[in-house]
C-alpha cells in the first residue's frame, strides 16, 4: 500500500500562522484583525480538512463534490482517538470557514480581538 504524504496540511497551517503574525496593509491602511480572521480561520479549516483526508484515501480521490460533509461523517463513524480529537475542531472551523469565505456582509468579528485567532491556532496545532 503506497504511503501518501500530505503536504497541504502544513502549508495551510503555516500560512495561517504567518498571516496572523503579519501586519496586513492595503496601501496606507491596516486591514487589522477582521481581515486576518477571515484568512486565518479559512486556512486553519483547510489544514484540518487535508489532515482528515490523509486517513480516508477513497474519499480523497472521490470525484464527488461533497467531500467536506463526507469527511465529517467518516470522522464521526471512526473509533480512532486521533479522529475523535480532530472532529470537534473541524466541525467548529467548518462553520467559521463558511462565514470567512462567503458571508462578507456579516461583520461580527470586527469587534473581536486577535487572541481568539491564537486560540484556534493552538487547537489546530494540538490535533495535527
Amino acid at each position: 500500500m503506497p504511503v501518501h504524504t500530505n503536504t497541504l496540511t502544513d502549508v495551510f497551517k503555516d500560512f495561517a500562522t504567518c498571516i496572523n503574525a503579519t501586519e496586513l496593509k492595503c496601501g496606507e491602511y491596516s486591514l487589522g484583525t477582521y481581515a486576518k480572521a477571515r484568512i486565518v480561520l479559512s486556512r486553519l479549516y483547510y489544514a484540518c480538512f487535508h489532515k482528515g483526508l490523509e486517513d480516508f484515501p477513497r474519499l480523497r480521490n472521490s470525484p464527488q463534490g461533497k467531500k467536506h460533509k463526507d469527511l465529517i461523517e467518516a470522522l464521526r463513524n471512526s473509533t480512532e482517538v486521533k479522529h475523535q480529537e480532530l472532529l470537534p475542531v473541524i466541525e467548529i472551523l467548518k462553520d467559521l470557514r463558511v462565514w470567512a469565505d462567503y458571508d462578507h456582509s456579516n461583520t461580527f468579528f470586527q469587534r473581536s480581538t486577535i487572541t481568539s485567532l491564537e486560540y484556534y491556532i493552538y487547537q489546530v496545532e494540538e490535533v495535527l
Binding site: I92, D95, F109, T115, Y119
Partner: protein
C-alpha cells in the same frame, strides 16, 4: 313597515360586524403586545445584546411583524443555562452557517475567555469550552439546531 324592519335588520347586522371587527383588532393588538413582551423578557433574561430578527411576512392575508428565528431563541436558552451553571457572563453570540446547515456551532464571547487568551492560557480556555459543552449537552441533549458551543 316591512321596509323599516328590513332597514333595522341590516343596521343591526352592520353593527354586529363593526363590534366583531373591533374585538378582532383589539385581539390582534393584544397578541402582538404579548409577543413583544415575550421577546423582550427573553432578552432581558439572558442579558445578551443582539438585535432580534423582525421581518414582515404575508400568509393568506395575515400579516405579522415578527419572524421568530428558532436558532436565536434556542441560543438564548443555551446561553442562560451556561451562564447560570458556569457563571461565565456570556456577552454576545454568533451563529454563522445557520441557514445552510443542521447542527451548527453556537459561538459565544465572554470576558473570562478573553482574559485566558490574553494570558495565553489556551489549554484552560479549551477545558472551559469542554465544560460549556457538557452543560449544554446535559440540558438540551441531542438538539437539532446546535451541534456544539465554542468560544470566539
Amino acid at each position: 313597515m316591512e321596509n323599516v324592519d328590513k332597514c333595522k335588520t341590516v343596521s343591526n347586522t352592520i353593527g354586529s360586524l363593526v363590534v366583531v371587527a373591533s374585538l378582532y383588532t383589539v385581539g390582534m393588538d393584544s397578541l402582538q403586545m404579548c409577543v413583544e413582551e415575550e421577546i423582550s423578557s427573553e432578552y432581558e433574561h439572558t442579558g445578551v445584546n443582539q438585535t432580534f430578527v423582525a421581518n414582515s411576512f404575508t400568509n393568506d392575508g395575515l400579516v405579522s411583524p415578527y419572524d421568530v428565528d428558532v436558532h436565536t431563541v434556542k441560543a438564548s436558552e443555551i446561553i442562560k443555562t451556561i451562564n447560570d451553571s458556569l457563571k461565565l457572563n456570556i456577552d454576545n453570540y454568533f451563529i454563522p452557517n445557520k441557514d445552510l446547515d443542521e447542527k451548527v456551532t453556537l459561538f459565544v464571547t465572554c470576558k473570562k475567555f478573553q482574559d485566558l487568551c490574553e494570558k495565553e492560557e489556551f489549554e484552560q480556555a479549551l477545558a472551559l469550552q469542554k465544560k460549556m459543552n457538557i452543560v449544554a449537552q446535559d440540558k438540551f441533549g441531542n438538539d437539532s439546531h446546535f451541534g456544539r458551543v465554542a468560544f470566539l
